[in-house]
Subunit: 338 residues, 2 copies
Amino acid sequence: MNAAINRQVRLAARPVGMPKESDFSLAEEPVPEPGPGQALVRVLYLSLDPYMRGRMSAAKSYAPPVAIGGVMTGGAVGEVVRSQARGLEPGDLVEGMFGWQEYALCRRGEARVLPASHHPPSYALGILGMPGATAYFGLLEVGRPRPGDTVVVSAASGAVGAAVGQIAKIGGCRVVGTVGSDEKAAYITDELGFDAAINYRTANDIGAALEEACPTGIDVYFDNVGGPTTDAVMERLAFKARVAVCGCIHHYNLTEPYAGPSHLRHILVNRACVQGFLVFDWLDRYPEAFARLAAWLDEGRMTYREHVIEGLENAPEGLGMLFEGRNFGKLVVKVAER
Amino acid sequence: MNAAINRQVRLAARPVGMPKESDFSLAEEPVPEPGPGQALVRVLYLSLDPYMRGRMSAAKSYAPPVAIGGVMTGGAVGEVVRSQARGLEPGDLVEGMFGWQEYALCRRGEARVLPASHHPPSYALGILGMPGATAYFGLLEVGRPRPGDTVVVSAASGAVGAAVGQIAKIGGCRVVGTVGSDEKAAYITDELGFDAAINYRTANDIGAALEEACPTGIDVYFDNVGGPTTDAVMERLAFKARVAVCGCIHHYNLTEPYAGPSHLRHILVNRACVQGFLVFDWLDRYPEAFARLAAWLDEGRMTYREHVIEGLENAPEGLGMLFEGRNFGKLVVKVAER
């Protein structure tokens, strides 16, 4: 790799349906020099996350879309290589929205300097990063589980779902996960300690499977997927159930809006609360989440699994894997060796 | 009318779709004698409300259904005629779930003794009763409007909707109502002070009409109807919008569950909260609601309209009117003269 070249993945076209290779383009630029107040970061790991589909689309979302021809947005971990920014020193490991590229400029407020840790730096993109905080705050602040509650989480082997289920177990809940393969089902029950798993691809009747796994109804639903899984959960809410709407990956690549049975009557009859949230609402409390999650990892009360793809140029294919559920664990792209 | 006879309307069959005359039967019983702890109430006004459709059905709801052959359930206002219950004296005006009948027995905790008031007793079935409390607590506790918010209420000329809109106006909000006729549209804007009205039956495009009436989006939606109106509102929620799910009358008489576009993405992107509620959750605070609503009526800050049907035997037809939106104002059946 020539250090003078910054390889990038740019958005070439707004995808229709599932993103495809031709929606991206590879580009090369000279590595930029940091100006006053800036640091140059060499990216080590890039995170691939479901929200990226929203950034590729011009539809209204909570953040503006990536411009056509712009570098794809994305969280990454890297090492400061040159700096004119106080508080960002060469050698520092940092996490920030560095995008799909090998080098990025950033300012002090745009990067989180990672504390010295025995955990791999890539964990700052997952369990000790945005997905971990999403699980922690979404479950505890929106889902508000109580010991004894039945908690259902969809996409349960993913970066967020696996953390949600394990936190709910620590909190004394019965936890049921929905996943897309028998291997993932075995993983969440055998390794993560979920009480039950439902493979939505092979279950003849998700509703009947939920009924069996949740005999007293569903007190908390942490939803990453939307679609028919959510429709089936909504029919089985318990009294005063809380639904934390974290994502609806099932909908993201549809060319028509997803339509299905109305949830209103279930919400009404059970006096349920369905709430959308974004982890940034708790930005000032991230240290609390990271400290507790790190402690639970250290105590062996949580397990974390990564799916590592090698090479920035394979990131577009990786995103496709994510939307098809072909990853197994938190998906990261290894961009460079430290 | 022979005082020794208690005429009743009973549930003859569980309706399929819209309730029809043959789902009810008229019956006569001797007027019962109150036993120890009981009072006999002569019913003056019976309330007709959308929730009654749920009681006619065996589907899961927040209350058990009326048995086939049982007296239809319903709130009513009456006069105590004989009593062996302390606190319920002959001549007292009382409100309670006396059912679709001319006479009912009740115990002390089952009837609210109405305070002396210059308001008609039937108001205790509407603005100074359950529908008024539903509007008051649903809007203020679940909708949580702030001055300057845009509040949309569906079924806006109905017992609950009219109160919701007027309370929101008192609270400094911009208020938009959806109704089913031009006459009702004129009523809510000209007499109730709503800022805009949308006739969902004649609007070519409810979404476009909402867009025009709510240029900054919808901060609070008080939903009585569900169906396509709600689907259109959900697409136009403002950031951190609150949706109070009070009813979904559009769905109640469908023979298939209502299906439509998913609301999840809108809930997610706007970090909205969609919450079902039941007014009984605030039972201990009813006096607060009734005191404020009565004061607003007296000060001329609120207006209340009733639609009175004469005769218990016409209650079934009245319920049909309600579901078809042919009533105009709070629907009550006058069962007897005081």
